[in-house]
Symmetry: C2
Subunit: 363 residues, 2 copies
């Protein structure tokens, strides 16, 4: 292994099941210098490292990447230029303002801009949803900041089961591409990242030449199934089996919702084959799986509602697509999200007046 | 007060907040002999009576009606003929078979039939929902059993707050009528019940000449609002205020759902005025009220889903009415009810196969 300080520098933000295995994958490959921002477990991990049980890489007792930071600010003050800023946190635009992705990465972008002298900063969003890149584009001038925004879509079963303890039970499968299909620099940066990430025989990592298609495709599952399970608080098989005649959940919720996504995507010339609908209904029929929004709802954490459902519905509205099923799911989940926002102090409800208190941050 | 054993005999089934205040109202009037079936609190109440704080009747420390029974079977073996059988339990056709209303009242109906020699048996269903009388009609021949089935719709705020302790905070308002509009005996029995129940200056009780209309009217609220609050687990004001721009819950869920109820009722020539929609949206806008289905859902108890939403949707289907909003609420709530049915042992789910176990009682 070469002197890691000479290698491309990558900082991973978000030290959950996804972020830690992501950092491990990069470190394992040995072609980059890997930093990880760890919020809650920093002291523990800084001292002892992670205990990891990984179906891809095996057992680790005290693993750490090259650098760990408590905050993004600390990392930005380290004097380093980061070639890749990898964001693995949840994307919740209706969450606290300071946790918006653009705000979280701002110190690193600014610092890179100061140090970089024309070097490219690549932001890789390993997150769910559609139109998540626009928040970054709106805030930072791509030319001025030499900024590429990259898309990462990951399939992985990995969970932080205790402070500093990660269990990866499902293989890591990552596709990376450029949000701008015509931007050669961004495309090259995405391809380069795949090289830095892919460990032959361990994980899967591929270049994604049609990011928008891949995101719409994943939305078929997330907008229809993730959302429904969150509302009723049940794993996918129970949602299917508890329907009227064991059929109504798939016939009257999942499939019509997915057909609406197909129709919305079609107005952007993204053509999703009808066979994908059956594919996604079947994919977790016999797996005791609770999608992320369902888990977040249960834990009292904010759900990725806007990027999974709110953004596609904005596109539907602009393009005149009827979405009766997705809209109902959305209007119900907005209320459920309101409940979570109240619990998390993002809005206040005055029971004596039976009204929202206006002063608190609104959507 | 006359010798109560000579008065019309009334038995109230269900000793929750509604049933106990109902029994008290009848007892207070002094024109009937009142029995109450008390399941869980029987021993306590038999010994000490109820402690009641009532906005209609004041304070009682040790109140009991003329008779208390532990079970309907015990009551049916008492050798009495009951002129009125008043059912105040929840109506849950998809619950345990033994708790179906027709099964619960069967011993009393049979006993009356044996003793009655042509006397009329009046069954008063003080319950939510539409088409609840049909279950009784299907099981008992009305002529053979000299049976009248009466409808009671009650507005009351009354809760059992502890074993043997009842708190009534909202005035009792009852309307009673005959499910069969043309049946003079039933109409007279309903009017008679109002006389036995109404305490001038205390409660309100009125004869209802158009039962079907009243039930569709109440369904406007229950099918749209009760259901939504149950899904998201929030009181009505929060549901309204947490919507997009504080508007989507009423504009995109409550009102369209109510318009669908109006359309279904119209196919039965029940004409609900559009102004009722606004009325019901407003009625609990500023009251911190959680409807019954929401409370049941929270407590892990089965919801009155079929009589509130399933039955109207059957009528809609038969009569060709489109119900996109109500149907979505229904399909989601059927899954939520499945969760409650599993918790209550009414269905079994095999996680190793990710499938329902067939042998358990199904819908």
């Amino acid at each position: 292994m070469s002197d890691s300080s000479q290698l491309p520098k990558i900082i991973v933000i978000g030290a959950g099941g996804v972020g830690v295995i992501g950092a491990l994958s990069l470190y394992y490959k040995g072609l980059s210098n890997v930093s990880l921002v760890i919020r809650s477990d920093y002291d523990l991990v800084d001292k002892r490292g992670y205990k990891i049980t990984s179906c891809d890489y095996g057992q680790f007792e005290n693993w750490k990447p090259h650098h760990v930071y408590r905050t993004v600010e600390d990392a930005s003050e380290s004097g380093q230029f980061f070639d890749y800023i990898v964001v693995t946190t949840k994307n919740i635009p209706d969450g606290p303002a300071h946790s918006a992705v653009s705000q979280v990465i701002r110190p690193l972008i600014d610092n890179n801009h100061k140090l970089g002298e024309g070097c490219q900063t690549n932001v890789l969003l390993m997150q769910n949803g559609i139109d998540i890149e626009k928040e970054i584009w709106n805030l930072f001038d791509r030319k001025q900041y030499h900024l590429n925004v990259l898309s990462g879509i990951q399939l992985i079963g990995s969970t932080k089961v205790a402070p500093g303890v990660i269990d990866q039970v499902g293989r890591d499968n990552l596709i990376v591409g450029a949000f701008e299909r015509e931007n050669k620099d961004a495309i090259n940066a995405a391809k380069k990242f795949v090289e830095l990430y892919h460990n032959e025989g361990k994980n899967c990592a591929e270049f994604d030449e049609n990011v928008r298609y891949s995101r719409w495709k994943k939305l078929l599952y997330n907008a229809a199934i993730n959302t429904t399970t969150a509302l009723v608080g049940l794993d996918v098989p129970r949602c299917l089996e508890f329907g009227v005649d064991r059929k109504s959940t798939e016939e009257n919720i999942f499939k019509p919702a997915m057909r609406e996504i197909v129709a919305i995507a079609a107005t952007e010339n993204v053509l999703l084959d009808e066979s994908l609908i059956t594919f996604f209904v079947e994919i977790t029929r016999h797996i005791m799986f609770k999608p992320s929004m369902c888990v977040d709802h249960e834990k009292g954490q904010l759900m990725e509602l806007e990027v999974i459902l709110g953004n596609p519905l904005k596109i539907a509205k602009n393009n005149g697509v009827q979405t009766p099923v997705l809209s109902m799911l959305y209007y119900l989940l907005v209320v459920a999200q309101g409940r979570l926002r109240e619990k998390n102090g993002l809005l206040k409800f005055d029971e004596s007046k039976a009204e929202l208190v206006d002063s608190v941050q609104s959507l």
